[in-house]
């Protein structure tokens, strides 16, 4: 057998790779497939035996939670991007000493297990509501603040990574052609930062939208998010509507990912490998 053929034949690692891809994708295929099955009240079957949309009739219970999760995710993504942009500009552009320490500080909150962050904020909000005439947990604000704490590292990281690669000579050229510093930032730097802004915003949204371990401490019936609702129903009250709403979330997530990759310069594979 020739050398190149020996290296090219199907290897153990290729078999493992195929199994891993199937293992990772199958859960989603099963949820989506089972959502189209026509079956008795509590039996979940995959592959489906006869097709029906009956699970989708039970979706109403989950729509308010889906809306809240999307809203919290959007607020967290927007705020984290603003703060992340400021932090990245401050760290990369200023002559401040201890940049490494600052970067490390802004990575700290993702290294704390999320369940600890949730417990910590629950306790903190008890204290806040005892001192101030405001209970952060009576609205979505408490959850947004706790998620913001965890999301800022994603945006700082994604935006600084793009910012350090911007060639200063481009900005100097704009300056010497008469653009003010603000105009240079607005017209030259900001558009070049877009991939970092989009990636950071996207990861912040995804973290917030999918979170269980923080939200489980901070939500009540009126502020319930979708992942927590599904989490609780999976344990205590399996409803077929869950399969339907999950299928919708999978489809929406795919649309979001594809849309951002195609139209907004989001490079998922390379921006995540950096982590």
């Amino acid at each position: 057998m020739s050398l190149s053929r020996r290296l090219r034949r199907i290897t153990l690692s290729q078999v493992a790779a195929a199994l891993v891809v199937v293992f990772l994708l199958l859960p989603f295929v099963i949820v989506m497939g089972a959502s189209f099955d026509q079956s008795g009240a509590y039996e979940i079957r995959f592959p489906p035996r006869s097709l029906s949309l009956e699970a989708y009739a039970g979706i109403g219970k989950y729509l308010p939670a889906l809306g809240r999760s999307a809203m919290v995710g959007a607020c967290v993504a927007a705020l984290a991007t603003v703060f992340g942009l400021m932090a990245a500009l401050g760290i990369v552009r200023s002559g401040i000493v201890g940049k490494e320490t600052l970067q490390a500080f802004f990575r700290l909150s993702v290294q704390i297990p999320m369940v600890v962050t949730g417990a910590v904020f629950l306790q903190f909000y008890y204290h806040v509501s005892a001192v101030l005439p405001w209970n952060p947990m009576s609205s979505m604000a408490g959850l947004v603040i706790a998620h913001l704490f965890v999301a800022i590292p994603y945006t700082v990281g994604a935006i600084s990574a793009v910012l350090v690669r911007i060639d200063p000579s481009v900005e100097e050229a704009a300056n010497s052609l008469g653009a003010s510093h603000w105009a240079t930032f607005r017209e030259v730097t900001f558009p070049m930062l877009r991939p970092g802004l989009v990636a950071g915003m996207f990861y912040a949204f995804i973290m917030s939208f999918g979170d269980v371990p923080i939200a489980i401490f901070l939500v009540n019936q009126d502020t319930m998010t979708l992942p927590v609702q599904i989490f609780q129903d999976m344990q205590f009250d399996f409803q077929r509507g869950m399969l339907a709403v999950s299928t919708i979330v999978v489809v929406l997530s795919l649309a979001l990912i594809l849309g951002l990759q195609r139209y907004a310069g989001l490079d998922l594979v390379s921006s995540s490998g950096r982590k």
Binding site: F83, A87, G90, I96, Q123, G210, L243
Partner: protein, 295 residues
């Protein structure tokens, strides 16, 4: 780069942007959200729970003493470390094999596979766990297949036990490991393997003597990330453990929400946090020391 920036500051005068000022709001916010809650939480952990959400007025180490002496809590710590380490090890083997195969495959097929793998990690974990539960349950696809080929006589209990949590943790960490290790394998030139093969090295020898040493740092880094994810994994531990596998994240939530033992919940959180940071610092120190001692 900082040199040209300084020159700009000198020239621009009043028109210059003072970038340092931008740092203040995010830094203050992050500091406030880190220090204030953590401090009140740590303070809480030194107070004994008196039931009904009340805690003692005086500070003591009673919660910590209970954690390190009560076999119930010690077993929980052991279980969390053991499951996280086992999941990290399995994830490294599977993740490295996958990353290696994809990096050597290259082209659009590797990109498609990576995109799919990454996408699975972006969709909320509860949906993934719902699918895993249906897939591995008594009447799930895997048991259907095993029964059909006659490999087992009765359904295997894959979920609602420690095995289920382990499978869930591997699912949780694999996508990140594959992506990280893909980057690592890409830095190993295929020419090195071919050179070793020309000189008669077997595939096992090429792996052990060429690939593994070059990937070592990446494997340690990936293993640590996977271990950290496992130590904090709450959702998978509850949903695939069926409430029977009491790892530390599960216990913390139970103490805080169900039994209102805030002091104990806070103490367990602190122990978990210290444990995670210690493991990371120790491993990082060992890696730098070994690298430093090399000729």
């Amino acid at each position: 780069m900082s040199g040209s920036r300084a020159a700009e500051t000198g020239r621009g005068g009043a028109n210059t942007i003072r970038w340092g000022a931008f740092l203040a709001p995010p830094l203050l916010l992050s500091l406030a959200l880190l220090v204030l809650p953590q401090a009140s939480f740590l303070w809480m952990s030194f107070h004994e729970d008196l039931g009904l959400g009340q805690s003692s007025e005086t500070a003591s180490l009673v919660n910590y003493v209970r954690i390190v002496t009560d076999p119930f809590y010690l077993h929980s710590i052991w279980l969390t470390v053991y499951l996280s380490a086992a999941a990290a090890a399995i994830g490294l083997v599977l993740g490295f094999a996958t990353a290696y195969a994809l990096a050597r495959l290259g082209g659009w097929r590797a990109r498609l596979a990576l995109s799919l793998i990454l996408t699975t990690s972006l969709i909320t974990i509860v949906i993934k766990l719902m699918g895993l539960n249906l897939m591995l349950g008594a009447s799930g696809l895997v048991n259907q297949a095993l029964l059909a080929v006659g490999a087992v006589a009765s359904p295997v209990a894959f979920v609602n036990n420690e095995l289920g949590v382990l499978i869930g943790l591997v699912q949780y960490t694999l996508p990140i490991l594959v992506l990280m290790l893909f980057g690592v394998v890409q830095t190993i030139p295929v020419g090195l393997e071919e050179a070793a093969a020309i000189h008669g090295a077997s595939r096992a020898a090429i792996f052990a003597r060429v690939i593994l040493p070059l990937a070592r740092t990446g494997l340690i880094g990936g293993g640590l990330i996977a271990f950290n994810m496992g130590m904090g994994a709450f959702t998978s531990a509850v949903l695939l453990g069926g409430g029977r596998v009491l790892t530390m994240p599960v216990l913390i939530q139970q103490k805080m929400i169900q039994s209102s033992e805030y002091g104990m919940g806070a103490a367990l959180s602190t122990v978990l946090l210290v444990l995670v940071f210690t493991v990371n610092i120790v491993v990082a120190t060992c890696v730098t020391r070994r690298r430093g001692s090399r000729p």
